[in-house]
Subunit: 200 residues, 2 copies
């Protein structure tokens, strides 16, 4: 394949995935049918099938693109902070603000995907479970470092803190998306300040 | 209509709704198509349409039946406790145990429904938002009473406590359903004991 076509192919693929992430964030990963997406990107079904052989491949590509966007919009905003409490607090703030900024049009991509896919065994569910577990570990690692240097007390455990942070994010996403309650991010921040208070 | 047939009709309707709740808890409210449910209950589509005119009527009936089951499995277990901290703590315990007992085969019916319906305007979404808001108010009312009699400090506010309890339930449901992490209920209980500690 000549270089130009390779680039075109990559660009088309990128546009398809971009559209797929938007569709999935509003209508769910099950909404990602080949027919629906072909319409949305203005392509024939067979053209789309040249890029993604089936719905599952499309779902996996959308999930990975969503992970990448999450890394940029949450992790990269905090990654330069010192490991431990400073980075944990920066991550928590970036995570709340990711909901506030409506990075995905339908709210948190992963919260929606988990409710949809948790009963659907297969590679999409596996990838989702693995990436969310890794994220919880990332949080717990900084919490553990904060405890090691005395910036946080040894209890609640690092795993407990990560779990509770995840819960605050779910509640914030729910309050924003279902109840249109714009006060939710402030409540999340108040809870975070009690859970992992700034070092004195 | 003779009395016997009226009873038969009510019983058939009850069985359809029962099946619908199970289907929706695993495959979501969008999974509740007339065709799918007719198959599941062993009925013709036109027979089913005699009971529920369309998919939305079926979704609403399933949602209301799920609310009723939630009232029995959570609220009724705590309703006899004294208003304030005793009842709030009993509700929180019944709520965690509702997840642990897997009252719905697909995990929390409302957590799944909210992620699915929050971007779908209409009566199902409205009913869901209203019933979840009412539930949050129920929690906040007991929290406020607990604060009034000095069983809980005035801060965090009652609304904040209700919000955080909701978050813990979402996180527990997520950990059980997606990660198959059976340690989640214990983490929820530890967090609840810090958030709304028993009166001394």
């Amino acid at each position: 394949m000549p270089r130009r076509s390779r680039e075109d192919t990559a660009e088309t693929r990128r546009q398809i995935v971009e559209t797929a992430v938007g569709v999935a964030s509003v209508d769910g990963l099950e909404g990602l049918t080949i027919g629906r997406l072909a319409d949305d990107v203005g392509m024939s079904k067979s053209g789309l099938l040249n890029h993604f052989g089936n719905k599952e491949a499309l779902q996996l590509a959308a999930l990975r693109a969503a992970q990448q966007r999450f890394r940029v919009e949450v992790w990269h905003r905090a990654a330069d902070e010192a490991p431990g409490l400073p980075r944990l607090r920066a991550v928590a703030e970036a995570w709340v603000s990711y909901l506030e900024r409506r990075v995905f049009p339908g709210g948190c991509f992963f919260a929606a995907a988990t409710m949809e896919m948790d009963d659907q065994p297969g590679p999409v569910r596996d990838e989702l479970a693995e990436s969310m577990s890794r994220w919880l570990d990332t949080l717990a690692t900084d919490a553990r470092e904060a405890q090691r240097v005395g910036d946080l007390p040894p209890e609640p455990t690092a795993e407990q803190l990560a779990f509770e942070l995840q819960g605050l994010i779910f509640a914030t996403n729910w309050a924003l998306q279902l109840l249109h309650d714009d006060g939710a991010p402030a409540r999340a921040r108040a809870a975070i300040d009690r859970l992992i208070p700034p070092a004195v």
